[in-house]
């Protein structure tokens, strides 16, 4: 942070009501307090990093319109990308850009991410604290989904956190609408069609009736 933000003593002085007119000793004490406050404020301002000090902040502003501030989407269909593993993020950008993971929304934007620097952007989102979806699922749907999820834990883990080493994403706290839609795409083999690494997953998805996807999605979105 090279910029100095000035918090002048006059500005802080304005906080003291002029009409009060305190005796001399109080005046001195107040002046000292003001000087101390000004020093603290100046130090604080100098140390506090503004968002623009991270060059990646300006690279991700387009993303926020759909994926929320810092990637913490609050909507049902746009996934939370805050805290997403960087390697998984980069794989998805690659797949979107080539059309392997077809998405009319994400194909152009994936190319923009590549233009701006996928290393910067994946690193930025990986470093953001993930806030689970604020959308609350029906407890009955969550309970039904928990039963169905017994088959998913081998890969996605007991708590739905995934396994970064195997590029398996965490599902916990993702919005339910997004999760349910991805299940449909996997089952129909329209997401990354023909990918051998996903063959077993898709075979499993084909054994689950479509009607159970919303329950499964409700369960994973409820995990913390």
């Amino acid at each position: 942070m090279t910029t100095t933000r000035s918090y002048s003593s006059t500005r802080l002085g304005a906080l003291v009501p002029a009409a009060a007119r305190p005796p001399l000793i109080s005046k001195i004490l107040i002046s000292l307090a003001i000087a101390a406050l000004a020093l603290i404020a100046a130090l604080g301002a100098a140390e506090a990093a503004g968002p623009l000090d991270d060059p990646a902040f300006a690279k991700v502003i387009t993303c926020g319109a759909c994926h929320g501030v810092n990637g913490n989407s609050k909507s049902d269909m746009q996934p939370i990308i805050a805290g997403l593993d960087a390697a998984y993020f980069k794989r998805q950008i690659e797949n979107y850009a080539t059309g392997k993971r077809p998405s009319p929304e994400m194909e152009p934007y994936a190319k923009q991410v590549q233009f701006l620097g996928v290393e910067w952007i994946s690193g930025f989102f990986a470093a953001q604290k993930r806030e689970p979806t604020p959308l609350r699922a029906q407890p009955e749907a969550v309970a039904r989904g928990r039963t169905v999820a017994a088959q998913c834990v081998i890969c996605h883990g007991e708590s739905g956190r995934g396994d970064a080493a195997r590029l398996i994403p965490g599902l916990a706290g993702q919005p339910p609408g997004y999760l349910a839609q991805q299940m449909v795409l996997f089952k129909a083999d329209t997401r990354d069609p023909g990918d051998p690494l996903l063959a077993a997953k898709k075979a499993l998805m084909r054994t689950i009736p479509d009607g159970q996807f919303p329950d499964l999605a409700a369960y994973y979105s409820s995990l913390r």
């Binding site: 503004g50 623009l52 502003i61 929320g68 909507s75 049902d76 269909m77 152009p108 923009q112």
Partner: protein
């Protein structure tokens, strides 16, 4: 250059001795008297609290809370143009598209619910009512205004002929008129020549009204008089959607030239068309304040800007964002205005802090509802090359679907939060 000299003079005066200060500013006494909120630190003033302006105000405060931000907007609440066509079909209420500015207030944005009457670039002030507000950088996000004079008879009839192209009371009134129209009545919609706000907007509106009439007034028709040679945006997808609406009578290259409200007729070069309910969307230009402040080009329509910072090419220190701009290969959409607001805000913060301005190309995600449950979309991503915005790619949804409509709903929630929270 005159302005710079004067600014320098003012700056040196204000740090000078009391005597010099009083002498130096004596000539400006009248305007100083109207300085209703004297500037104590760095200040950004934003004119217009729509998609571009609200976003700009929010992002300046996010990027550097030590910068004071004033947002000047006559309306007390934000009303979304995107999704407002669904009010015409009765699928949404205008209340559901109305949001308070509380989130921006919580971020420390100071509101003045008035109209700016003038911009003074030389002294870096805007005039509001009888007073003045000083700025270090100004964001002008004025939206659009209408060229009433382009259509004969319209200037006299502009208070009764509805455009409903700024979401609000006109949207509600047009919905009421459509609902009150007798079965068998003709709804006439006129599309202005490009460039205008929201290229796919008229065609989405046609879908929504046609959907409503098909279900509720099966003998009624939607007659479209389009000044353009073809559907301007998402052409094939709209054509496909209209297969479901035989009540649409679409007439391309039919530019409206006149209106007669006494006979309830609009005129084109070819004929006269009778209407029962009329939605005349007039030709457009940048919001009046931008034209008045000499931010628009020689044609007095749109404002040319730097593609990185959105600073006006005509006035230093003034950044223009949103539908009022021209020269970038982007549509006049809410999503683009949102992106421009961010890029202008972060450019301003960088400039005020003496930092390099980052490269922030825009993007456009644009959904259109073609029925009560299905939508289509177009997406454009851009890069910046040699200081100019260049499109990387445009992609359309392969077909209309309920899934796209669900994503449209998610986009609405996310981008509203990105402007207003």
């Amino acid at each position: 250059m005159k302005g710079v000299t004067r600014r320098r003079f003012l700056r040196s005066s204000s740090v000078g001795l009391g005597l010099g200060l009083a002498g130096g500013l004596a000539g400006c006494a009248a305007s100083m008297k109207g300085d209703f909120a004297p500037k104590s630190g760095r200040r950004v003033v934003v004119i217009g609290g729509g998609w571009g302006g609200a976003t700009a105000a929010r992002y300046v405060r996010m990027a550097d809370p030590s910068i004071e931000v004033y947002l000047i907007e006559p309306n007390k609440e934000f009303v979304s143009c995107p999704f407002s066509n669904l009010v015409l079909s009765g699928l949404r209420t205008i209340e559901s598209l109305t949001q308070p500015y509380d989130g921006l207030r919580r971020r420390g944005v100071k509101f003045i619910h008035e109209s700016v009457t003038a911009i003074e670039p030389d002294t870096r002030r805007v005039r509001v009512g009888e007073g003045y507000l000083a700025y270090d950088r100004l964001v002008v996000s004025p939206g659009i205004d209408f060229q009433w004079e382009q259509i004969e008879g319209l200037p006299a009839a502009k208070d009764s002929v509805l455009h409903a192209w700024k979401a609000g009371p006109q949207t509600v009134e047009l919905a009421r008129q459509i609902q009150a129209m007798p079965d068998g009545g003709n709804f006439v919609l006129t599309v202005p020549p490009v460039a205008y706000r929201c290229p796919p907007g008229p065609y989405e509106r046609i879908c929504q009204v046609a959907w409503y009439l098909k279900a509720n007034k099966p003998k009624s028709k939607v007659i479209v008089l389009d000044a353009n040679q073809n559907i301007v945006s998402k052409t094939a997808l709209f054509r496909a959607a209209w297969q479901a609406y035989p009540n649409i009578d679409y007439r391309a290259s039919n530019k409206v030239t006149g209106i007669d409200t006494s006979t309830r007729e609009v005129r084109t070069d070819f004929d006269k068309v009778k209407y029962d309910v009329l939605n005349l969307i007039p030709p457009q230009r940048a919001g009046a304040i931008a034209v008045q402040a000499d931010l628009a080009g020689a044609d007095k329509r749109w404002c040319e800007v730097d593609h990185v910072t959105y600073e006006s090419v005509k006035q230093k220190g003034i950044h223009v964002v949103g539908d009022a701009t021209i020269g970038l290969p982007v549509p006049k959409s809410g999503n683009v205005a949102n992106n421009m607001g961010k890029a202008a805000a972060l450019s301003i913060v960088s400039l005020l802090n003496g930092q390099a301005v980052p490269i922030m190309p825009p993007g456009n995600t644009c959904y259109s509802w073609v029925s009560d449950r299905e939508a289509i979309a177009v997406v454009n991503a851009y890069k910046i090359e040699n200081g100019k915005v260049v499109q990387i790619e445009q992609k359309l949804t392969p077909a209309q679907s309920a899934s796209v409509a669900q994503r449209a709903e998610g986009w609405r929630q996310s981008i509203w939060a990105d402007m207003l929270s």
